[in-house]
């Protein structure tokens, strides 16, 4: 199973479940096995504009002993042009690459629920929520999360991926987390 193929199939499942259970509209930035640039993905979300941006992934850690879901929210580097204290910001410009700063707290709220629900659903340890400068998320004008379901290189992952219920369980966990976020995060 390739990472891209697994994630694309999962995204379609999440799209269907979200629309059925929560009645929300879902826009996939990639609906076939083709490469889409990071910038184009963020632009697609911003053009709607979407309420949430979730980037689905399987990690590939160098250690097979590292397993479980992890989420990353983006912390733009200090000193980035257009960031805090920049004259551009004072003039009211929203600088590309610094938009996520204003949504970081809510992104944390979403990321925390996603990782928690996935950890419970998969019976795997949570690797928590981390902050790193992720260009894919930096320019998003809504809470944005880079979500890793598990590591493709972890011990036992092949057996887990062959489980026919896996996709449904992951999708259910993601939908539940988004539902909780809507009700619990102001």
């Amino acid at each position: 199973v390739s990472e891209a193929g697994f994630v694309l199939s999962l995204a379609r499942r999440v799209e269907r479940d979200l629309e059925e259970r929560l009645g929300v509209t879902v826009l996939l930035t990639r609906d076939s096995d083709r490469d889409v640039s990071l910038r184009a993905r963020t632009e697609a979300a911003n053009m709607v504009p979407a309420d949430l941006f979730i980037s689905l992934h399987m990690d590939g850690h160098a250690s097979p002993r590292v397993t479980g879901p992890r989420a990353v929210v983006s912390r733009p580097p200090l000193g980035r042009p257009g960031g805090v204290g920049s004259p551009l910001r004072d003039l009211g410009f929203q600088v590309w690459g610094d938009a996520q700063r204003g949504h970081l707290n809510r992104a944390y709220g979403l990321a925390d629920r996603l990782v928690g629900e996935l950890s419970n659903a998969l019976g795997l340890p949570s690797r928590g929520v981390e902050e790193w400068p992720v260009p894919l998320l930096d320019a998003a004008v809504m809470p944005a999360v880079f979500l890793e379901i598990d590591s493709m290189t972890s011990d036992g992952v092949d057996g887990r991926l062959r489980n026919p219920d896996l996709e449904a369980r992951i999708s259910e966990a993601i939908v539940t987390a988004i539902d909780r976020y809507r009700r619990e995060v102001p």
Partner: protein, 188 residues
């Protein structure tokens, strides 16, 4: 005449023998090192030499976070040479059970330490080739390994600008922003 010739032959033999011993000694010394030119594995150093002990950070196989290994290097002429030796040793990888953090084919082309505590590391393209297709974790481990190794061994270094073949690149493998200098304290 015959005696003189023998003396010359003997002298040549001794000279060749001494040169051979010198060469072998140098080879043994080099092969005993776990690092590139200028470095030795901690504990293998000949007595009396002026070495500097560096702490290098690789991946811990259980937790996936950073763990330390020590190396002794023969100090270079300046900070840039010592930084190059440290990064070369990171590329060579751990000697124990820790996880390598940088691709084995990567090479440091140039190191430049600029004003304000910024260090420029210019790698060859194999840095990107070796990290491509990996997850965010591999990219993160590479950057954190570099940042903590630099921060913990070189006072005065505060920021790192990664270059590949002399150019600034936006990311190493598509996930994390390296298009501007990284504050070492933010990546520790």
């Amino acid at each position: 005449m015959a005696v003189r010739t023998r003396t010359i032959v003997w002298a040549s033999s001794i000279a060749i023998l001494l040169l051979s011993i010198g060469f072998l000694g140098n080879q043994v010394f080099r092969e005993g090192r776990q690092g590139p030119a200028g470095t030795v594995a901690s504990g293998d150093e000949p007595s009396g030499a002026a070495f500097r002990t560096l702490t290098l950070y690789f991946g811990d196989p259980a937790s996936g976070v950073l763990a330390a290994e020590r190396r002794d290097i023969i100090p270079g002429a300046d900070t840039a040479e010592d930084v190059a030796a440290a990064v070369d040793d990171l590329i060579l990888g751990p000697t124990g059970d820790l996880i390598p953090t940088l691709p084995p084919d990567a090479r440091v082309r140039h190191v430049f330490v600029g004003p304000g505590g910024i260090v420029y590391l210019d790698f060859n393209g194999d840095l990107l080739t070796g990290l491509s297709g990996g997850g965010l974790s591999r990219e993160l481990l590479a950057l954190r390994s570099l940042a903590r190794t630099l921060k913990s061994n070189f006072d005065g270094l505060e920021r790192l600008q990664i270059l590949v073949e002399g150019r600034v690149i936006p990311t190493l493998a598509g996930h994390l922003d390296v298009g501007s200098p990284l504050r070492l304290s933010e990546w520790d």
